[in-house]
Symmetry: C2
Subunit: 334 residues, 2 copies
């Protein structure tokens, strides 16, 4: 039996999902890649903490242990924030590993340079999981709309904000009450600023814009508006008029480069993103031949995000070596 | 300069769209495929008819002219009905051409055998355009959800029926009045049976089911229900209850094989296809890891359907030879 060796950086919700998905979908991965995917190590901060379902000997808190795995081919990265993740990914690429990341903050800032480095080393960077969770928006743009010229992208890309706006409209919650419930349900963090002020959506917009237009909009954080100024009265008034507030990210190619905005927008029923409720994410892509294509799915969550990462790995089919595991090689050598 | 030679079978709306798209998107195709795509011949029924924008010398009514094109690599097929298209495609495959088809009736019945023949010859069959027009449903299932196990597919796959139901709900048209307007707008044919009785949707369901589950449901034409029995009163009653009739195609993997249905279904607002109005098509795919992914887009039309075919051709990147055109080769030979 041959194996494809993988390592996992980070074991939060997403990392756990990737580990679980590799186990539960091992047959399918084997069929697609020609060999089993074997997680050889999991990088965690605290190796003393119990990780149910993961053999203790796989855990390490030292990235050098990952680098020293012979024939390592795929590094899944599910850490939050730029460093130390960026350094790990650069070293992984230098080692000749394909990388698959869910790290939107990192990728929004350094995606370009990572992809250039990967290209020089003949490896790839999967980043489907950085944007819109389980909805395959990135690869639709990259692979399914390649001839089409994309003129406009609109998205609902922060599930927390969308959940809060949905609660306000459907249940007449105030912003504060809706935020509190979101926190209780685990959709919003204790410090919700990143979500409700639009910074999380900004990272995803930067990633989509670079992908679709080859450049980022000139949109500083000061030009980003979140949902905190929307009142229950605003929403009730809109509802009576048959309209809905959505926290909308948009980017459009113009003669003067990419024009973008991130702010709450009133949508009418004929807008493709009008009906996207709750924690869902969706992106509407307007393209020269296809017209407007809308993709909607779970914007976050353990398995949907893991899905994006695992599918990125499956796309490596044909690009991986299938090596003999050490024991088998010893047998052959003997 | 090298070229990739293509031929076009059929020059109705879709064929015209493909021809136009190859001209308007030539730079992008060249970048993706490493050479220009050159349409070397267009098969039509009546070569005396004027085809604006197409050089007369490209037109032929004899398929043997297509077969005799040296180094032909891609055959785009946009004919209606099984024969003579099936024979043409089989001969094209035998000649070693990749084929790209928009022919849903043909593909629903013979897709499997065509793909097997293509596989034996080392060529591919693109069929994105058979289902949901410009919405890239086929390749999302084939390429972006490969590790995921798909458990259920639901779709709105006939734009004409959906347009009629939308008119009835929004404008209080009777079925007959809505059908008449659809015919005037060119959405419905003079004989609308294929659309409004659900037979067109059946072909697309068979294609999706084979793709997602590897088998077709046991669903004879007698088990297919169209929209003709839905009255304006039904729709008004549903509207009051916050529900909408959609002509829904669904297929689900069960212990006993694929269970499928094609019929009008009352949907509530929380259903992913509730908001798909007018001539749009959409498919909701429920998968083991990703959850439910919904893809929505133009279900038909010249450029959206051409988009699907051109993107199928672009996916041949790396599988095509870039040959010297005859004149250049003569120079080298001399």
């Amino acid at each position: 039996m041959t194996v494809i060796k993988a390592a996992l950086l980070g074991f939060g919700t997403v990392g756990q999902g990737v580990y679980e998905a590799i186990q539960t979908h091992s047959e399918q991965l084997k069929k697609l890649l020609g060999a089993s995917v074997s997680v050889e190590a999991v990088l965690v901060k605290d190796i003393t903490k119990e990780r149910p379902g993961v053999p203790r000997e796989l855990l390490t808190d030292n990235f050098n242990d990952i680098l020293s795995i012979p024939d390592l081919q795929i590094v899944f990265e599910a850490i939050v924030g730029v460093e130390p993740a960026l350094g790990y990914l650069k070293q992984s690429i230098a080692k000749g590993c394909h990388i698959v990341t869910a790290n939107k903050v990192l990728f929004a800032q350094h995606g370009n340079s990572l992809q250039q480095e990967a290209s020089r080393k003949g490896v790839t960077v999967g980043f489907e999981a950085t944007t819109a969770g389980g909805a395959p928006v990135i690869r639709t743009i990259k692979e399914l709309l390649r001839v089409n010229k994309i003129s406009r992208i609109e998205g609902i890309l922060n599930g927390t904000s969308n959940y809060i706006l949905t609660l306000m409209r459907e249940e007449n919650y105030t912003f504060e009450a809706a935020l509190k419930l979101s926190q209780e349900k685990g959709y919003a963090e204790a410090d919700p600023e990143n979500d409700v002020e639009g910074y999380d959506a900004l990272n995803k917009l930067l990633i989509l814009s670079e992908l679709a237009f080859g450049e980022k909009p000139d949109l500083s954080v000061s030009g980003v508006e979140g949902i905190t100024r929307i009142t229950l009265e605003d929403i009730q008034k809109a509802k009576k008029a048959g309209q809905r507030y959505r926290h909308l990210v948009s980017a459009e190619m113009t003669e003067h480069g990419v024009a973008a905005s991130i702010k709450p927008v009133l949508l009418s029923e004929d807008h493709p993103l009008y009906s996207v409720d709750g924690v869902l994410n969706a992106v509407a892509i307007t393209a020269s031949l296809a017209g407007t294509v809308t993709i909607k799915g779970a914007g976050a969550g353990k398995l949907p995000t893991a899905s994006a990462m695992i599918e990125d790995a499956a796309a490596l089919s044909g690009k991986l070596q299938t090596v003999q595991p050490l024991s088998a090689r010893s047998l052959f050598a003997g």
